[in-house]
Symmetry: C2
Subunit: 207 residues, 2 copies
DNA sequence: GGACACGCTAAGCGCTTGCTCACTTTCGGC
DNA sequence: GCCGAAAGTGAGCAAGCGCTTAGCGTGTCC
């Protein structure tokens, strides 16, 4: 039998902030199950089983199944935002910063595909208030990318027809990596990150 | 009360091949429900209710709930493939044909977002054999786009580093429109189609 | 060393699910 | 006007769902 930590691999380290240990194991098990089958097709018995616990144990650490998704979604979106902010605020030209944003954002979606899938595709399964909170984080992600593109236009580095639409397309392209990326496929996360950074620089008309 | 046909609008016309009438109404109701809540969160009672029928009526026309998804998925993928083929086989340069593929494919994803969502995002809810059949249609879609990009490279119209990766990115960009497009948002399907055609031509390095 | 809080389990409650079945209604052919 | 097939209904079954509760073992405090 494989434990949750083994199959999730390096992704597990991202959940260090979740304590105690049993709560973290349950959360990692939930990420896996939600990514594989989707939120609604996953049972609380399945989550508890993957974490090596009885079904009732889940409710000691989480009020409901939805709270698990909410926690996963918040931590995941915070990580995504941090990635985009770090790249946006480094030194360098807008071209370099945008390329950095895309390559690191894509690497996260490809390498942590299990987590990214849940974060990006299970938003609609949240209740209205939780969903509103997460949507605010998404708007911040959008703003981080848009700011770099606007910088590039202002500096004369980029040639963009529609900044808002292009920002959306860039984020959309990166996010969809979580849908199609396959660990056993022909590319590593690094390779996809580099390929996508090149494609995005072409989209913004870098000279 | 609004009927299935009213809320789906023009999309309904795409299901003309489904007969008899009651079977078509059920299928359209299922498309709506799956798009709104996802396959697993949709109940057969909900589908039948939207079609104005009793829960048992569904099983006169379909063996299982999964058969509904299978039929929707097959018809939808066939339509997607037809769109890409039509654009690929028209007269014109590779540049014109690729722009046509992207703008019409995006228009379909934006305008028929309800259907496209189900087609593109509920694949994993199918059983193994049905899924295999649908994946074959997806590979054909990929081949149609790749052929046009290869034509453009051979003709010296495009400048592409990685044909396979770029093909995947182009399709990925178009497909993700179904996730974010909002009918009440700032763009019409035509506008997004035009914007995306421009972005894709930049991605392939059109001169 | 007795009391107690804590983490966890076994059992199961109330409800919903996908699906079935006995039965009624509708309707074209003769 | 009768008949059989097709289409649809109301009631309900077995299974599985999210979640609760009563009780057990363990370690910590004084």
């Amino acid at each position: 039998m494989t434990t949750a930590e083994e199959t999730t691999g390096g992704e597990a380290s991202a959940w260090g902030e979740v304590t105690p240990d049993a709560a973290r194991r349950l959360l990692i098990a939930a990420v896996e199950a939600f990514a594989e089958r989707g939120y609604h097709a996953t049972t609380t018995r399945d989550i508890a089983g993957r974490a090596g616990m009885s079904p009732a144990a889940l409710y000691i650490h989480y009020k409901t199944k939805e709270e698990l998704l909410h926690r996963i979604s918040r931590i995941g979106h915070a990580k995504a935002l941090e990635i985009l902010q770090t790249a946006a605020r480094r030194e360098g030209t807008a071209t370099e910063r945008l390329a950095d944003q895309v390559s690191s954002f894509v690497r996260w979606h490809a390498g942590g595909r299990t987590t990214a899938r849940v974060v990006q595709y299970e938003l609609d399964s949240l209740g209205p208030e939780a969903r509103k909170e997460i949507l605010a984080l998404r708007r911040q992600c959008d703003a981080e990318v848009r700011a770099v593109i606007e910088d590039g236009v202002a500096a004369g580095e980029f040639d963009v027809l529609d900044v808002k639409g292009t920002t959306l397309a860039v984020l959309s392209l990166c996010i969809d990596v979580a849908r199609w990326f396959n660990v056993e496929g022909p590319w590593t996360p690094d390779e996809v990150g580099a390929l996508y950074a090149d494609l995005v620089l072409r989209m913004v008309g870098v000279k």
